[in-house]
Amino acid sequence: MKKTIYIFNDGQLKRKGNTLYFESEEQKKYLPVEDVGELMVFGEVSLNKKFLEFASQKEIIIHYFSYYGYYMGSFYPREHLNSGHMILKQAEHYLDEEERIRIARQFVSGAARNIRQVLRYYNNRVGGISETLNRVDEVIMSLDDCHDISRLMAAEGNIRDRYYRVFDIITRNPDFPFEERSRRPPRNHLNTLISFGNSLMYTIVLSEIYRTHLDPRIGYLHATNFRRFSLNLDLAEIFKPIIVDRVIFSVLGKKMITVNDFEEEGEGIMMKDRARKTFVQELDAKLKTTIKHKGIGRPVSYRRIIRLELYKLEKHLIGEKFYEPFIAQW
Protein backbone atom coordinates (compact mmCIF):
# COMPACT_ATOMS: atom_id res chain seq x y z
CA MET A 1 0.00 0.00 0.00
CA LYS A 2 1.38 3.41 -0.96
CA LYS A 3 2.10 5.91 1.77
CA THR A 4 0.64 9.25 2.68
CA ILE A 5 3.47 11.70 3.29
CA TYR A 6 2.76 14.59 5.65
CA ILE A 7 5.05 17.61 5.40
CA PHE A 8 5.03 19.99 8.36
CA ASN A 9 8.43 21.64 7.93
CA ASP A 10 9.23 24.51 5.60
CA GLY A 11 11.45 23.61 2.69
CA GLN A 12 11.76 22.63 -0.91
CA LEU A 13 10.30 19.69 -2.80
CA LYS A 14 12.34 18.60 -5.78
CA ARG A 15 12.67 15.86 -8.30
CA LYS A 16 16.03 14.18 -7.98
CA GLY A 17 16.53 11.55 -10.62
CA ASN A 18 13.67 9.17 -10.16
CA THR A 19 12.84 10.06 -6.57
CA LEU A 20 11.10 12.80 -4.69
CA TYR A 21 13.41 14.85 -2.51
CA PHE A 22 12.53 17.12 0.38
CA GLU A 23 15.06 19.54 1.74
CA SER A 24 14.65 21.75 4.78
CA GLU A 25 17.00 23.33 7.28
CA GLU A 26 16.69 20.34 9.58
CA GLN A 27 16.64 17.50 7.12
CA LYS A 28 17.26 16.13 3.67
CA LYS A 29 14.96 13.32 2.76
CA TYR A 30 14.50 11.08 -0.26
CA LEU A 31 11.01 9.71 -0.80
CA PRO A 32 10.97 6.75 -3.21
CA VAL A 33 8.34 7.78 -5.72
CA GLU A 34 6.74 4.37 -6.18
CA ASP A 35 6.00 4.31 -2.46
CA VAL A 36 4.16 7.63 -2.32
CA GLY A 37 0.43 7.80 -2.87
CA GLU A 38 -0.24 11.38 -1.83
CA LEU A 39 1.41 14.39 -0.22
CA MET A 40 -0.21 16.48 2.50
CA VAL A 41 1.53 19.81 2.72
CA PHE A 42 1.22 21.88 5.89
CA GLY A 43 4.55 23.73 5.86
CA GLU A 44 5.73 26.52 3.57
CA VAL A 45 6.91 24.42 0.72
CA SER A 46 8.22 25.54 -2.63
CA LEU A 47 8.32 23.37 -5.70
CA ASN A 48 8.72 23.78 -9.42
CA LYS A 49 7.01 22.65 -12.58
CA LYS A 50 9.45 19.78 -13.03
CA PHE A 51 8.32 18.45 -9.67
CA LEU A 52 4.64 18.78 -10.59
CA GLU A 53 5.27 17.02 -13.89
CA PHE A 54 6.88 14.15 -12.03
CA ALA A 55 4.05 13.98 -9.48
CA SER A 56 1.54 14.04 -12.32
CA GLN A 57 3.31 11.29 -14.21
CA LYS A 58 3.40 9.16 -11.08
CA GLU A 59 -0.24 9.99 -10.30
CA ILE A 60 0.49 11.55 -6.93
CA ILE A 61 -2.08 14.01 -5.55
CA ILE A 62 -0.79 16.96 -3.52
CA HIS A 63 -3.15 18.44 -0.90
CA TYR A 64 -2.38 21.87 0.52
CA PHE A 65 -3.34 23.17 3.94
CA SER A 66 -3.06 26.78 5.04
CA TYR A 67 -1.04 28.08 7.96
CA TYR A 68 -4.19 27.69 10.06
CA GLY A 69 -4.52 24.05 9.03
CA TYR A 70 -7.50 24.60 6.74
CA TYR A 71 -7.73 22.70 3.49
CA MET A 72 -6.79 25.04 0.64
CA GLY A 73 -6.85 22.87 -2.44
CA SER A 74 -5.28 19.98 -4.27
CA PHE A 75 -3.01 19.43 -7.20
CA TYR A 76 -5.20 16.84 -8.89
CA PRO A 77 -3.16 15.37 -11.75
CA ARG A 78 -4.91 14.71 -15.02
CA GLU A 79 -7.34 11.81 -14.92
CA HIS A 80 -5.57 8.55 -15.62
CA LEU A 81 -8.56 6.23 -15.47
CA ASN A 82 -11.19 7.06 -18.02
CA SER A 83 -14.38 5.26 -18.73
CA GLY A 84 -16.91 7.18 -20.80
CA HIS A 85 -19.55 4.71 -19.67
CA MET A 86 -18.94 5.39 -15.98
CA ILE A 87 -18.97 9.19 -16.37
CA LEU A 88 -22.23 9.06 -18.32
CA LYS A 89 -23.80 6.89 -15.63
CA GLN A 90 -22.54 9.13 -12.86
CA ALA A 91 -24.01 12.23 -14.50
CA GLU A 92 -27.23 10.41 -15.42
CA HIS A 93 -27.81 9.53 -11.75
CA TYR A 94 -27.24 13.14 -10.78
CA LEU A 95 -29.60 14.57 -13.35
CA ASP A 96 -32.42 12.14 -12.54
CA GLU A 97 -33.88 13.63 -9.33
CA GLU A 98 -35.30 10.27 -8.23
CA GLU A 99 -32.00 8.44 -8.72
CA ARG A 100 -30.01 11.25 -7.12
CA ILE A 101 -32.08 11.19 -3.94
CA ARG A 102 -31.83 7.40 -3.72
CA ILE A 103 -28.04 7.66 -3.57
CA ALA A 104 -28.02 10.76 -1.34
CA ARG A 105 -30.34 8.96 1.09
CA GLN A 106 -27.86 6.09 1.36
CA PHE A 107 -25.09 8.53 2.27
CA VAL A 108 -27.19 10.15 5.00
CA SER A 109 -28.38 6.79 6.22
CA GLY A 110 -24.80 5.49 6.36
CA ALA A 111 -23.61 8.56 8.26
CA ALA A 112 -26.54 8.32 10.70
CA ARG A 113 -26.15 4.61 11.33
CA ASN A 114 -22.44 4.97 11.96
CA ILE A 115 -23.16 7.84 14.36
CA ARG A 116 -25.58 5.45 16.03
CA GLN A 117 -22.85 2.83 16.42
CA VAL A 118 -20.56 5.37 18.09
CA LEU A 119 -23.35 6.47 20.41
CA ARG A 120 -24.29 2.90 21.28
CA TYR A 121 -20.71 2.12 22.22
CA TYR A 122 -20.46 5.11 24.55
CA ASN A 123 -23.92 4.53 25.96
CA ASN A 124 -22.74 1.10 27.09
CA ARG A 125 -19.55 2.54 28.50
CA VAL A 126 -20.57 5.78 30.17
CA GLY A 127 -24.38 5.86 29.81
CA GLY A 128 -26.61 8.91 29.66
CA ILE A 129 -27.00 8.84 25.90
CA SER A 130 -30.07 6.62 25.48
CA GLU A 131 -32.41 9.59 24.99
CA THR A 132 -30.25 10.86 22.11
CA LEU A 133 -30.00 7.35 20.69
CA ASN A 134 -33.78 7.06 20.56
CA ARG A 135 -34.12 10.40 18.81
CA VAL A 136 -31.42 9.46 16.28
CA ASP A 137 -33.23 6.17 15.64
CA GLU A 138 -36.45 8.06 14.97
CA VAL A 139 -34.77 10.35 12.46
CA ILE A 140 -33.17 7.34 10.75
CA MET A 141 -36.63 5.77 10.44
CA SER A 142 -37.95 8.95 8.84
CA LEU A 143 -35.28 9.08 6.11
CA ASP A 144 -37.40 7.02 3.73
CA ASP A 145 -39.98 9.79 3.78
CA CYS A 146 -37.47 12.44 2.68
CA HIS A 147 -38.13 12.94 -1.00
CA ASP A 148 -36.03 15.99 -1.65
CA ILE A 149 -32.42 16.87 -0.94
CA SER A 150 -33.19 19.78 1.39
CA ARG A 151 -35.30 17.57 3.68
CA LEU A 152 -32.59 14.96 3.66
CA MET A 153 -30.01 17.61 4.54
CA ALA A 154 -32.25 18.85 7.35
CA ALA A 155 -32.60 15.34 8.77
CA GLU A 156 -28.85 14.91 8.63
CA GLY A 157 -28.31 18.27 10.35
CA ASN A 158 -30.78 17.24 13.03
CA ILE A 159 -28.90 14.02 13.76
CA ARG A 160 -25.50 15.67 13.76
CA ASP A 161 -26.81 18.35 16.09
CA ARG A 162 -27.98 15.81 18.66
CA TYR A 163 -24.80 13.83 18.20
CA TYR A 164 -22.48 16.77 18.87
CA ARG A 165 -24.49 17.75 21.94
CA VAL A 166 -23.46 14.55 23.73
CA PHE A 167 -19.77 14.98 22.93
CA ASP A 168 -19.26 16.36 26.45
CA ILE A 169 -20.62 13.12 27.92
CA ILE A 170 -18.36 11.08 25.63
CA THR A 171 -15.10 13.01 26.09
CA ARG A 172 -15.65 13.79 29.81
CA ASN A 173 -12.94 16.39 29.42
CA PRO A 174 -13.93 19.84 30.77
CA ASP A 175 -11.05 21.42 28.82
CA PHE A 176 -12.77 20.47 25.60
CA PRO A 177 -16.44 21.48 25.84
CA PHE A 178 -18.43 21.26 22.63
CA GLU A 179 -20.60 24.40 23.16
CA GLU A 180 -21.73 24.72 19.55
CA ARG A 181 -20.42 23.85 16.12
CA SER A 182 -18.27 26.67 14.82
CA ARG A 183 -16.21 26.74 11.64
CA ARG A 184 -14.02 29.18 9.73
CA PRO A 185 -12.64 29.83 12.23
CA PRO A 186 -13.53 27.22 14.83
CA ARG A 187 -13.98 29.07 18.11
CA ASN A 188 -12.98 26.44 20.63
CA HIS A 189 -10.55 23.56 20.96
CA LEU A 190 -12.94 20.72 20.23
CA ASN A 191 -14.30 22.45 17.14
CA THR A 192 -10.76 22.97 15.90
CA LEU A 193 -10.11 19.22 16.23
CA ILE A 194 -13.34 18.35 14.45
CA SER A 195 -12.62 20.73 11.57
CA PHE A 196 -9.06 19.51 11.21
CA GLY A 197 -10.09 15.85 11.22
CA ASN A 198 -12.89 16.42 8.74
CA SER A 199 -10.59 18.29 6.33
CA LEU A 200 -8.18 15.37 6.38
CA MET A 201 -11.04 12.97 5.74
CA TYR A 202 -12.18 14.96 2.69
CA THR A 203 -8.73 14.85 1.15
CA ILE A 204 -8.26 11.15 1.86
CA VAL A 205 -11.55 10.29 0.17
CA LEU A 206 -10.59 12.57 -2.73
CA SER A 207 -7.33 10.66 -3.16
CA GLU A 208 -9.23 7.38 -3.24
CA ILE A 209 -11.68 8.75 -5.82
CA TYR A 210 -8.70 9.67 -8.00
CA ARG A 211 -7.87 5.96 -8.11
CA THR A 212 -11.30 5.01 -9.45
CA HIS A 213 -13.26 5.86 -12.59
CA LEU A 214 -15.51 8.24 -10.68
CA ASP A 215 -15.45 12.00 -11.15
CA PRO A 216 -15.06 13.84 -7.82
CA ARG A 217 -17.00 16.83 -9.18
CA ILE A 218 -20.30 14.98 -9.32
CA GLY A 219 -21.71 14.43 -5.85
CA TYR A 220 -25.27 13.51 -4.91
CA LEU A 221 -25.95 14.87 -1.46
CA HIS A 222 -23.69 17.86 -1.91
CA ALA A 223 -24.67 19.72 -5.04
CA THR A 224 -22.28 19.61 -7.94
CA ASN A 225 -22.68 23.23 -8.92
CA PHE A 226 -20.61 26.00 -7.33
CA ARG A 227 -17.99 23.60 -6.07
CA ARG A 228 -15.01 21.82 -7.51
CA PHE A 229 -15.21 18.60 -5.60
CA SER A 230 -18.31 17.20 -3.94
CA LEU A 231 -18.37 13.42 -4.21
CA ASN A 232 -15.61 13.23 -1.59
CA LEU A 233 -17.76 15.24 0.82
CA ASP A 234 -20.62 12.77 0.30
CA LEU A 235 -18.55 9.68 1.03
CA ALA A 236 -16.71 11.32 3.92
CA GLU A 237 -20.02 11.65 5.80
CA ILE A 238 -20.11 7.89 6.24
CA PHE A 239 -16.60 7.68 7.62
CA LYS A 240 -16.35 10.80 9.77
CA PRO A 241 -18.06 9.28 12.85
CA ILE A 242 -16.18 5.99 12.82
CA ILE A 243 -12.76 7.33 11.83
CA VAL A 244 -12.34 11.03 12.63
CA ASP A 245 -14.53 11.22 15.72
CA ARG A 246 -13.09 8.05 17.19
CA VAL A 247 -9.59 9.44 16.74
CA ILE A 248 -10.70 12.64 18.51
CA PHE A 249 -12.14 10.67 21.45
CA SER A 250 -8.99 8.60 21.62
CA VAL A 251 -6.45 11.48 21.60
CA LEU A 252 -8.49 13.37 24.20
CA GLY A 253 -9.08 10.27 26.34
CA LYS A 254 -5.39 9.42 26.38
CA LYS A 255 -4.53 13.13 26.87
CA MET A 256 -2.26 12.97 23.82
CA ILE A 257 -3.53 16.41 22.91
CA THR A 258 -4.25 19.02 25.61
CA VAL A 259 -5.30 22.67 25.63
CA ASN A 260 -1.63 23.66 25.64
CA ASP A 261 -1.43 22.34 22.09
CA PHE A 262 -3.59 25.19 20.81
CA GLU A 263 -3.19 28.89 20.39
CA GLU A 264 -5.58 31.75 19.80
CA GLU A 265 -5.38 33.27 16.40
CA GLY A 266 -7.61 36.22 15.62
CA GLU A 267 -11.16 35.07 16.27
CA GLY A 268 -10.37 31.41 16.19
CA ILE A 269 -8.32 28.70 17.84
CA MET A 270 -5.64 26.84 15.96
CA MET A 271 -3.63 23.70 16.65
CA LYS A 272 0.11 23.83 17.08
CA ASP A 273 2.23 21.63 14.83
CA ARG A 274 2.89 19.10 17.56
CA ALA A 275 -0.83 18.47 17.98
CA ARG A 276 -1.34 18.23 14.23
CA LYS A 277 1.43 15.66 14.00
CA THR A 278 -0.06 13.64 16.84
CA PHE A 279 -3.50 13.75 15.27
CA VAL A 280 -2.21 12.79 11.84
CA GLN A 281 -0.26 9.85 13.30
CA GLU A 282 -3.32 8.55 15.11
CA LEU A 283 -5.48 8.99 12.03
CA ASP A 284 -2.92 7.17 9.91
CA ALA A 285 -2.85 4.30 12.40
CA LYS A 286 -6.66 4.17 12.37
CA LEU A 287 -6.74 4.03 8.57
CA LYS A 288 -4.30 1.13 8.63
CA THR A 289 -6.38 -0.82 11.15
CA THR A 290 -7.84 -3.86 9.49
CA ILE A 291 -11.20 -5.49 9.88
CA LYS A 292 -12.44 -8.75 8.48
CA HIS A 293 -14.45 -8.34 5.29
CA LYS A 294 -16.97 -11.03 4.47
CA GLY A 295 -17.07 -10.61 0.69
CA ILE A 296 -13.33 -10.18 0.17
CA GLY A 297 -12.62 -12.99 2.61
CA ARG A 298 -9.59 -11.42 4.28
CA PRO A 299 -8.84 -8.44 6.53
CA VAL A 300 -8.96 -5.04 4.84
CA SER A 301 -7.86 -1.67 6.21
CA TYR A 302 -10.24 1.21 6.84
CA ARG A 303 -8.47 3.06 4.05
CA ARG A 304 -9.31 0.16 1.75
CA ILE A 305 -12.91 0.15 2.99
CA ILE A 306 -13.18 3.69 1.60
CA ARG A 307 -12.06 2.41 -1.80
CA LEU A 308 -14.47 -0.51 -1.60
CA GLU A 309 -17.22 2.00 -0.89
CA LEU A 310 -16.39 3.74 -4.17
CA TYR A 311 -16.44 0.40 -5.98
CA LYS A 312 -19.89 -0.27 -4.52
CA LEU A 313 -21.05 3.11 -5.79
CA GLU A 314 -19.63 2.29 -9.24
CA LYS A 315 -21.57 -0.95 -9.25
CA HIS A 316 -24.73 0.95 -8.35
CA LEU A 317 -24.12 3.43 -11.17
CA ILE A 318 -23.59 0.76 -13.84
CA GLY A 319 -26.84 -0.82 -12.70
CA GLU A 320 -25.37 -3.93 -11.19
CA LYS A 321 -26.12 -3.77 -7.49
CA PHE A 322 -27.98 -1.31 -5.27
CA TYR A 323 -25.57 0.71 -3.14
CA GLU A 324 -25.70 0.06 0.60
CA PRO A 325 -23.37 2.07 2.84
CA PHE A 326 -20.70 0.55 5.06
CA ILE A 327 -21.87 0.32 8.68
CA ALA A 328 -19.33 -0.35 11.41
CA GLN A 329 -20.13 -3.48 13.40
CA TRP A 330 -19.30 -1.97 16.77
Binding site: M1, S83, R211, H213, I296, K315, I318
Partner: protein, 168 residues
Protein backbone atom coordinates in the same frame (compact mmCIF):
# COMPACT_ATOMS: atom_id res chain seq x y z
CA UNK B 1 -21.72 -1.27 -37.17
CA UNK B 2 -20.69 -2.78 -33.85
CA UNK B 3 -17.56 -4.36 -35.31
CA UNK B 4 -16.16 -0.90 -35.96
CA UNK B 5 -17.27 0.58 -32.69
CA UNK B 6 -15.62 -2.09 -30.59
CA UNK B 7 -12.50 -3.67 -31.89
CA UNK B 8 -12.45 -7.19 -30.58
CA UNK B 9 -8.72 -7.65 -30.43
CA UNK B 10 -6.40 -10.30 -29.08
CA UNK B 11 -6.59 -9.11 -25.49
CA UNK B 12 -10.37 -9.41 -25.32
CA UNK B 13 -10.07 -12.93 -26.73
CA UNK B 14 -7.56 -13.66 -23.98
CA UNK B 15 -9.88 -12.29 -21.26
CA UNK B 16 -12.86 -14.10 -22.74
CA UNK B 17 -11.30 -17.45 -21.88
CA UNK B 18 -10.24 -16.24 -18.42
CA UNK B 19 -13.29 -14.36 -17.12
CA UNK B 20 -16.33 -13.10 -19.02
CA UNK B 21 -17.01 -10.39 -16.48
CA UNK B 22 -13.58 -8.96 -17.15
CA UNK B 23 -14.49 -8.74 -20.84
CA UNK B 24 -17.45 -6.49 -20.03
CA UNK B 25 -15.42 -4.29 -17.65
CA UNK B 26 -12.43 -3.99 -20.00
CA UNK B 27 -14.77 -3.35 -22.89
CA UNK B 28 -16.19 -0.36 -21.00
CA UNK B 29 -12.72 0.85 -20.01
CA UNK B 30 -13.46 0.14 -16.36
CA UNK B 31 -9.91 -0.96 -15.74
CA UNK B 32 -8.75 -2.91 -12.70
CA UNK B 33 -7.11 -1.54 -9.57
CA UNK B 34 -3.83 0.02 -10.63
CA UNK B 35 -2.45 -0.27 -7.06
CA UNK B 36 -2.67 -4.05 -7.17
CA UNK B 37 0.76 -5.62 -6.61
CA UNK B 38 0.61 -7.72 -9.77
CA UNK B 39 -0.48 -4.72 -11.83
CA UNK B 40 2.36 -2.59 -10.43
CA UNK B 41 4.88 -5.36 -11.16
CA UNK B 42 3.51 -5.81 -14.68
CA UNK B 43 3.76 -2.09 -15.37
CA UNK B 44 7.26 -1.98 -13.96
CA UNK B 45 8.51 -4.84 -16.11
CA UNK B 46 6.85 -3.42 -19.21
CA UNK B 47 8.62 -0.10 -18.62
CA UNK B 48 11.96 -1.71 -17.93
CA UNK B 49 12.02 -4.28 -20.72
CA UNK B 50 13.53 -2.14 -23.47
CA UNK B 51 15.35 -5.13 -24.93
CA UNK B 52 12.07 -6.86 -25.49
CA UNK B 53 10.53 -3.78 -27.08
CA UNK B 54 13.00 -3.93 -29.93
CA UNK B 55 12.09 -7.53 -30.66
CA UNK B 56 8.39 -6.82 -30.86
CA UNK B 57 7.14 -6.70 -34.40
CA UNK B 58 4.06 -4.62 -34.98
CA UNK B 59 1.64 -5.60 -37.68
CA UNK B 60 -1.45 -3.43 -37.75
CA UNK B 61 -2.80 -3.48 -34.20
CA UNK B 62 -1.14 -6.81 -33.48
CA UNK B 63 2.25 -7.14 -31.89
CA UNK B 64 4.26 -10.29 -32.22
CA UNK B 65 7.02 -11.22 -29.84
CA UNK B 66 8.98 -13.23 -32.39
CA UNK B 67 8.55 -13.72 -36.13
CA UNK B 68 10.65 -16.16 -38.13
CA UNK B 69 10.60 -18.15 -41.30
CA UNK B 70 11.34 -21.84 -41.63
CA UNK B 71 11.06 -24.19 -44.56
CA UNK B 72 7.30 -24.56 -44.07
CA UNK B 73 6.68 -20.83 -44.02
CA UNK B 74 6.08 -18.03 -41.53
CA UNK B 75 5.98 -18.61 -37.76
CA UNK B 76 4.75 -16.04 -35.25
CA UNK B 77 5.42 -16.67 -31.60
CA UNK B 78 3.92 -15.39 -28.42
CA UNK B 79 5.96 -15.49 -25.19
CA UNK B 80 4.04 -16.08 -21.97
CA UNK B 81 5.13 -16.00 -18.38
CA UNK B 82 3.48 -19.33 -17.58
CA UNK B 83 1.23 -21.90 -19.14
CA UNK B 84 -1.40 -21.37 -16.47
CA UNK B 85 -3.86 -19.90 -18.95
CA UNK B 86 -2.80 -21.98 -21.90
CA UNK B 87 -6.27 -22.11 -23.41
CA UNK B 88 -6.50 -18.30 -23.38
CA UNK B 89 -3.01 -17.97 -24.83
CA UNK B 90 -3.75 -20.48 -27.54
CA UNK B 91 -6.94 -18.73 -28.57
CA UNK B 92 -5.27 -15.32 -28.56
CA UNK B 93 -2.54 -16.57 -30.87
CA UNK B 94 -5.03 -18.41 -33.05
CA UNK B 95 -6.93 -15.14 -33.35
CA UNK B 96 -3.81 -13.39 -34.65
CA UNK B 97 -3.24 -16.22 -37.13
CA UNK B 98 -6.81 -15.83 -38.31
CA UNK B 99 -6.43 -12.07 -38.70
CA UNK B 100 -3.26 -12.65 -40.72
CA UNK B 101 -5.04 -15.18 -42.89
CA UNK B 102 -7.75 -12.60 -43.60
CA UNK B 103 -4.99 -10.45 -45.05
CA UNK B 104 -3.78 -13.33 -47.15
CA UNK B 105 -0.84 -14.27 -44.96
CA UNK B 106 -0.51 -17.89 -44.01
CA UNK B 107 1.38 -18.47 -40.78
CA UNK B 108 1.78 -20.95 -38.02
CA UNK B 109 1.94 -20.06 -34.35
CA UNK B 110 4.10 -20.98 -31.45
CA UNK B 111 3.49 -20.42 -27.77
CA UNK B 112 6.69 -20.08 -25.79
CA UNK B 113 6.98 -20.62 -22.07
CA UNK B 114 10.69 -19.96 -21.53
CA UNK B 115 10.52 -20.43 -17.76
CA UNK B 116 9.03 -23.88 -18.22
CA UNK B 117 11.27 -24.69 -21.21
CA UNK B 118 8.18 -25.57 -23.09
CA UNK B 119 6.68 -24.74 -26.47
CA UNK B 120 3.30 -25.42 -27.99
CA UNK B 121 2.46 -25.29 -31.67
CA UNK B 122 -0.74 -23.66 -32.77
CA UNK B 123 -2.08 -24.21 -36.23
CA UNK B 124 -5.21 -22.56 -37.50
CA UNK B 125 -7.81 -25.26 -38.13
CA UNK B 126 -11.41 -24.92 -39.29
CA UNK B 127 -12.51 -25.91 -35.84
CA UNK B 128 -10.42 -23.15 -34.22
CA UNK B 129 -11.77 -20.60 -36.67
CA UNK B 130 -15.33 -21.63 -35.82
CA UNK B 131 -14.56 -21.28 -32.13
CA UNK B 132 -12.98 -17.88 -32.65
CA UNK B 133 -15.87 -16.51 -34.63
CA UNK B 134 -18.24 -17.81 -32.00
CA UNK B 135 -16.13 -16.21 -29.25
CA UNK B 136 -16.06 -12.91 -31.13
CA UNK B 137 -19.85 -12.89 -31.43
CA UNK B 138 -20.18 -13.78 -27.77
CA UNK B 139 -17.76 -11.04 -26.74
CA UNK B 140 -19.85 -8.44 -28.57
CA UNK B 141 -22.98 -9.85 -26.95
CA UNK B 142 -21.38 -9.52 -23.51
CA UNK B 143 -20.11 -5.99 -24.09
CA UNK B 144 -23.42 -4.78 -25.47
CA UNK B 145 -25.26 -6.15 -22.46
CA UNK B 146 -26.21 -3.25 -20.20
CA UNK B 147 -24.79 -4.85 -17.04
CA UNK B 148 -21.75 -7.07 -16.55
CA UNK B 149 -22.05 -10.85 -16.15
CA UNK B 150 -22.42 -11.74 -12.48
CA UNK B 151 -19.21 -12.34 -10.55
CA UNK B 152 -18.36 -15.96 -9.92
CA UNK B 153 -15.74 -16.90 -7.39
CA UNK B 154 -13.01 -18.85 -9.13
CA UNK B 155 -9.42 -19.76 -8.46
CA UNK B 156 -8.15 -16.79 -10.48
CA UNK B 157 -10.05 -14.28 -8.31
CA UNK B 158 -7.30 -14.71 -5.71
CA UNK B 159 -4.77 -12.92 -7.89
CA UNK B 160 -7.13 -10.70 -9.85
CA UNK B 161 -6.90 -6.92 -9.62
CA UNK B 162 -10.69 -6.75 -10.07
CA UNK B 163 -11.33 -8.90 -7.00
CA UNK B 164 -12.06 -6.02 -4.64
CA UNK B 165 -14.34 -4.43 -7.20
CA UNK B 166 -16.22 -7.69 -7.69
CA UNK B 167 -16.51 -8.72 -4.05
CA UNK B 168 -17.00 -5.34 -2.31
Amino acid sequence: MPDNEINVGGTLIWYYYVCKREVWLMGRQITADQDDTNVILGRFFAEQSYGREKKEIAFGHMKFDVVRKDRHGLVVAEVKKSSKHIKSAKMQLAFYLWELSQKGIKARGELLFPKEKRRELVELTDELIDNLLEAKRDILRIIYDSIPPEAEKKQICRNCAYAEFCWS
